[in-house]
């Protein structure tokens, strides 16, 4: 049985369906992420788990026990708030020790645990300072220490990196991963940033409009999005309108208007005549010289219409014969601009049949 079970949970605010029949199960010691645009219901779900709100229907079970009716202060679930919500009138030590005091622990144990946890987040020298004397990253670590010190069954993190600058965010992201591995506590992480989600999570649930669109490991979500929303929301992806010609067997044969046949590994259910989109990531698209013989299942000819030099990679926009513009990503070699393609160059593009996915409309 999973540590946390969310069963058919719905929550309405007036006319807004904040959560619409959401079911999820989160395993012990998992780093689980709820990813989605603002208003997708991820924070509502987090608040239901924390106990600040109750679902209209459905239930939430922790260790197979229903959480309904248990107030937030009685749940073994702690939260790291987006604004950190550190108590401004308490020192770092008082803030971090707060949950232990609430749990009625002995002074000796509080002192010992406090020392350990502050050491863990590298804040031992800041124990007597007040929150307004700390930097953003330090506040973040105090919030983490405070939420972890009483060893909750579940740690909820509500966009904890949103208020940090990019450099710091990267650093704290790695710290978070290491921390979760060390303490072995289940993390439920809420974010709207797909990069954060892919970097930290064991599994990601992509949410939209109060529904869970897809749940899976980061590489599944990224490589094999199940629908247009997931494909579009995570990273950049080429979407070609297609029609299914042959379904069944070991290959799915699609036709893109004016382009010809695209072969794909059959993943989703499809039937001949069905319309949908074919999705392929820019970095999976290969570029080769126009005349070369190509062994890839799918290959077409096109013209470089634009290029964007980003340092580590260059993004090429390649107009295919049917007018569709494909994006392709090429890593830049150490030798500068060798092999750099100029605008107007006629090139071949291609990709393996397993590189892309067919998405039903």
């Amino acid at each position: 049985m999973a540590l946390l079970e969310i069963r058919k949970v719905s929550r309405r605010f007036g006319n807004l369906k904040a959560l619409d029949d959401v079911s999820l199960s989160i395993e012990a010691a998992e780093f689980f992420t709820l990813l989605g645009p603002s208003g997708c219901g991820k924070t509502t779900l987090l608040r239901l788990i924390a106990g600040f709100d109750e679902p209209d229907s459905g239930e939430v079970l922790l260790d197979a026990q229903p959480l309904a009716g248990i107030p937030a202060e009685k749940r073994p679930v702690h939260t790291v708030f987006q604004s950190y919500a550190l108590f401004p009138h308490m020192t770092v030590a008082q803030n971090v020790a707060f949950p232990l005091q609430m749990a009625g622990k002995h002074t000796q144990e509080i002192g010992r645990r406090l020392g350990e946890v502050l050491e863990m987040v590298h804040l031992a020298d800041k124990a007597q300072q007040f929150p307004n004397e700390l930097s953003g990253g330090q506040k973040q670590r105090v919030a983490l220490a405070r939420a972890l010190i009483n060893k909750p069954r579940l740690l909820l993190l509500d966009e904890p990196l949103a208020a940090l600058d990019a450099k710091l965010r990267e650093q704290i992201t790695s710290e978070l991963i290491a921390l979760q591995r060390d303490v072995g506590i289940t993390f439920v992480f809420v974010t709207h940033s797909q990069q954060e989600a892919l970097a930290v999570s064991h599994r990601v649930a992509v949410m939209n409009g109060g529904r869970v669109e897809q749940v899976g490991a980061p590489e599944q979500i990224y490589g094999y999005p199940r629908n247009r929303f997931v494909a579009d929301f995570i990273g950049t992806i080429n979407l070609l309108p297609v029609e299914v010609r042959v379904a069944g067997g070991d290959a799915l044969r699609l036709v893109a208007n004016g382009l010809g046949e695209i072969v794909s590994t059959p993943l989703a259910e499809a039937s001949a005549g069905q319309r949908g989109a074919y999705a392929v990531r820019p970095e999976r698209v290969r570029i080769f010289s126009a005349g070369d013989v190509c062994e890839l299942d799918n290959h077409f000819q096109g013209t470089v219409s634009e290029h964007l030099y980003l340092g580590d990679v260059t993004v090429y926009k390649i107009a295919l014969d049917n007018g569709v513009v494909l994006e392709a990503l090429l890593a830049n070699s150490a030798s500068g601009r060798t092999g750099f393609l100029e605008r107007g160059a006629v090139v071949g593009v291609g990709w393996h049949r397993s590189a892309g996915v067919y998405l039903r409309d």
């Binding site: 924390a50 600040f52 107030p71 937030a72 202060e73 708030f81 108590f87 401004p88 307004n132 009483n150």
Partner: protein, 301 residues
């Protein structure tokens, strides 16, 4: 030493915007310095002429002697100074004055405490209640101030008279609390309204029940508001003479009445001045104490 701007900031956070700390560390150019001077000149002049000068005159008056027909003897007579400590000696020579001082402080303390007990729940209710009723409720708190203070006290005479409660210490306290309650509610409300609701959620999330949340989070964070409100009630109550005169009995006179008597009835200006100065010194001491207690934690450490 506590700076006046800080004290003003703690006394009336909602009404006075203290800009000094925000500008600290920035070096104003000469043009800006001049502009600051010009802007602050009218109020400075006003205070010098109508507050500082009379206060100084009163200091001098407290050392002068009573003239033959009331008023004051000239400071110099036949080349001899007539200044004396007579008024102060008089004050410290009779227990009755110390008793009236003490009684006044007790009344002020009781009024402040009662105001605090009544105002806190109300302010908390307004601050945490629905946004749509907030302005209306605050307006209702201020509304009584729109009608004349004396009329409102007369109204209390009509209320308390038939109940046979008039002319008693009880009536004085009721009047004092009634008049000063808004000055406790407003700073408390301003403070409580500024609390980040996420703090209470965090406390609850980390295991604190409703009472603990109040004692550990709401109350400590509201202390600046408590000090401000207390100062705004305590100080005016100390100097109040109309309420004890109208609602109190003959035994209920306070410092304010005593001072008024010296100037208007006994024609003993030196004693009146000395009493005023002693009261001012006592109030300043208390204000300084309140500012010391109410300043941010970090500075106290």
């Amino acid at each position: 030493m506590v700076r006046w701007s800080e004290w003003a900031g703690t006394v009336a956070p909602g009404f006075i915007c203290v800009t000094e700390s925000r500008q600290a560390g920035r070096c104003p150019g000469p043009g800006e310095a001049l502009r600051k001077w010009l802007v602050s000149l009218p109020p400075t002049l006003f205070l010098l002429v109508f507050f500082v000068a009379p206060a100084l005159l009163m200091v001098v008056a407290s050392f002068q002697q009573v003239g033959d027909f009331g008023g004051l003897l000239p400071v110099l007579e036949n080349g001899q100074s007539t200044l004396s400590l007579e008024a102060y000696r008089f004050f410290f020579g009779d227990w009755i004055y110390a008793e009236i001082f003490l009684r006044s402080f007790l009344v002020a303390a009781a009024t402040t405490l009662l105001c605090l007990l009544l105002a806190y729940p109300l302010a908390l209710l307004i601050a945490t209640g629905g946004q749509q009723h907030r302005d209306l409720l605050v307006l209702l708190v201020i509304l009584p101030l729109a009608s004349n203070f004396l009329i409102r006290i007369y109204a209390w005479m009509i209320v308390l008279g038939p109940a046979e409660l008039l002319y008693s210490p009880f009536a004085v306290i009721v009047g004092m609390v009634y008049v000063h309650l808004p000055f406790m509610i407003l700073p408390l409300y301003t403070n409580l309204e500024s609390h980040d609701p996420a703090l209470l959620e965090a406390a609850q999330d980390l295991g604190a029940g409703a009472w603990t949340r109040f004692w550990r989070i709401t109350l400590p964070l509201s202390l600046p508001g408590v000090w401000s409100g207390s100062a705004l009630v305590f100080i005016p109550v100390l100097g109040m003479f109309a309420i004890p005169e109208l609602l109190g009995g003959t035994r209920d006179i306070l410092i304010g009445n005593l001072i008024k008597e010296q100037f208007l009835d006994n024609r003993d200006w030196p004693l009146g001045s000395a009493l005023s100065i002693l009261l001012t010194v006592a109030v300043l001491l208390l204000a300084w104490l309140a500012a010391w207690a109410g300043r941010p934690r970090r500075e106290r450490a």
